[in-house]
Amino acid sequence: MTSDQAGGAAPPDEYVEAEIQRLLTEDPAVAEQGITVIRREDTLVLYGEVESAHRREEILRRVAERFPDVPISSDIGVIRAQAPTEIEQLP
């Protein structure tokens, strides 16, 4: 696993990106398929929408735990759950 390399150079960004993407889905504490990981200069930015603030915190916690050396920032929103104010007519 690239993240466990000891003493070597930092793993290539693309592999880190791939691993984070899979962790977001496969880690039972996260289980999100709707989070996008993009590389912006030296930082990986996570964005997307989740169902609760707790889940957003959990994502950042798990990613930081697994990749302590990767600078991560996030722009994850909590999806609104209000009743709609408009309808769509489909004649």
Binding site: G34, R55, A81, A83, P84, E88
Partner: protein
């Protein structure tokens, strides 16, 4: 004849979300004849999470009809999940359908989870390794069951409910590379094999709301992260019955009911 359909998918419930949808759901009887859930009701498909779904979506004053999503399969507890939902009065469809008597007529809903495979010209084929053939056969069988269910219903209006998408239109916003994991054209073909009025799906969290099958059936992606509200409401009906359409009338008009 107008039937009012509320729909949402991908609510991914667990304890941390219970109660968030309920205030909006309590308003349903005023604005909809039925609530459709387009799968991914839970995060991991556990019985405990299904109880959260039952608590949030059970005991509503309108009928609730659902299909399961891929997340609802994660822990291999599908029979337990289905039982918890059915005990809460939620109708779970998988290759079958239900007909509801609504004020505007008999609404027939046929549902399957569906599966991936991709879209015409860019899709997986039933060829090669057993794993590949089994993947594509899963898609084919699911679509065949959806088509058969749609064609079997005796009703005034027909709606198809899936988790995976029947068209690429509603995936716009997702990376092109993952389209084959988000839906399959065979589902669209099944929908077009019957006089379907509307097809509703979820699964594509970064997709877009509106699309159309090659046969002209309107498709709506109602994944919660896409619609960003508790549910969407569609008034589906015959344009001729203008008396029953909302006072504003006309396609694409908007009206607040609160």
């Amino acid at each position: 004849m107008v039937i009012r359909i509320a729909a949402v998918g991908d609510v991914h419930l667990d304890e941390d979300v219970v109660g968030r949808f309920r205030p909006a759901l309590e308003e349903l009887p005023e604005c909809a004849d039925v609530l459709l859930l387009a799968g991914d009701l839970t995060r991991h498909g556990t019985e405990a999470e299904a109880r959260c779904v039952a608590q949030e979506f059970g005991g509503l004053a309108v009928p609730v009809v659902t299909v399961l999503g891929n997340h609802d399969h994660q822990c291999d507890q599908v029979p337990q999940v289905v039982k918890v939902l059915e005990d809460a009065g939620i109708t779970v469809l998988e290759g079958d359908g239900v007909v509801l008597d609504c004020a505007g007529g008999r609404l027939g809903i046929a549902g399957v989870k569906g599966f991936g495979g991709g879209f015409a010209g860019r899709c997986a084929s039933d060829f090669g390794e057993p794993e590949m053939k089994s993947f594509v056969r899963t898609t084919n069988e699911s679509a065949e069951r959806l088509g058969a269910a749609l064609r079997s219903l005796d009703c005034d209006m027909l709606v198809a409910l899936t988790h995976y998408s029947p068209v690429p239109d509603t995936l716009v916003g997702e990376p092109l590379e993952i389209y084959p994991f988000l839906g399959s054209y065979q589902l669209g073909q099944a929908i077009d094999s019957a006089p379907t009025a509307l097809a509703v799906h979820g699964h594509a969290h970064a997709g877009t709301e509106r699309g159309t099958t090659p046969g002209g059936v309107r498709v709506r992606n109602v994944a919660h992260p896409v619609i960003k509200q508790a549910y969407s409401v569609f008034h589906v009906g015959d344009q001729l019955d203008t008396d029953q359409v909302s006072p504003i009338g006309g396609s694409g008009s908007q009206r607040s009911w609160s």
